[in-house]
Assembly symmetry: C2
Homo-oligomer: 175 residues x 2
Amino acid sequence: MRKRTETDISEPLDAETGLHARPNDHRTELRLWLRLLTCANLIEAEIRKRLRERFATTLPRFDLMAQLERAPDGIMLGELSRRMMVSNGNVTGLVERLVQEGLLERQVSETDRRAVRVRLTPHGKTVFAEMAKAHGDWLGELIGAMDESAQEDLWARLGVLKASVHKASEHDGAC
Amino acid sequence: MRKRTETDISEPLDAETGLHARPNDHRTELRLWLRLLTCANLIEAEIRKRLRERFATTLPRFDLMAQLERAPDGIMLGELSRRMMVSNGNVTGLVERLVQEGLLERQVSETDRRAVRVRLTPHGKTVFAEMAKAHGDWLGELIGAMDESAQEDLWARLGVLKASVHKASEHDGAC
DNA sequence: ACAATTTGTTTTAGGTCTAAATAAATCCTG
DNA sequence: CAGGATTTATTTAGACCTAAAACAAATTGT
């Protein structure tokens, strides 16, 4: 087993020159990631702020209600947890608070008494409709300075990024 | 003051036709926002996971140390809070934990005894250097399926989005 | 039937975050 | 110089989030 020295660089050889490729610091990737994060954080912070100010609610609560909107028969907590990509325990707490506020109702499944089905109450539906309208308008306001074709172009390019990340994290993670 | 009716739509008139523009549900903006959020969350979740698994640390701690990396003379807590865009109290707690771990050192300013300057310890510098290297490699892995020109193009387009959001949120918020 | 396993949820412990209240030092202004 | 305003950091209360353990109900394999 050889001992490492400073000149013993383990980077791969460059395919064309045959010389040691210089260690890659991934500057381009870092720059892209930081800007992506900035954009997401700017929008998210603004949405959170407005949800708090105008509806006295939070983004996680809004997201949970959004999942329930098109499921009139309700969703089980586990499924909700998967769709929202958060932990089970987290969903339990969120649902608890929303039930307290009268926006959600829980119903234990008759066929499987472990399972809890949760759905919007009529009041919850009304409230969510207002919030969803405002949410759409806010996005229009925040993103509106881009014309539609630029938005669609950006959307498509983010699709490439998304595919890249999925490929890399699945390869490393699950398999 | 007129009473609102269902046909009394307050949407602006279309400039060319002079007819009522149909209410905009901002579908394109919503789609773009959801994909942006997905991309950011995928990368962030993967980075958090790896920071925890390989360095037993968290993203906020890493971000804080990254801010200190190129400030050998240290930074005051308030300035750190501004740069990280999080609350003062949050920084106080993060710094407390990092000091406990021996990665940071605090120093009360001699000229202003309210102010606390914080910097990386030598050990903190060593540890951060390892983490930063791994962080860069992870980004290369996650984003690497995009070629460099595609990354730069996406970066530039996100710049347009960033400008749009800044314009809208500053107009509404501070001024 | 009944033990082992799986599935769905809740609990627990710990970290992250904010807004608001507080404490301490400094600055400003009459 | 005195007293109020401002700045800087900390504390507090509460929401959010996770991982891991605990718990309960249902299913499966003898």
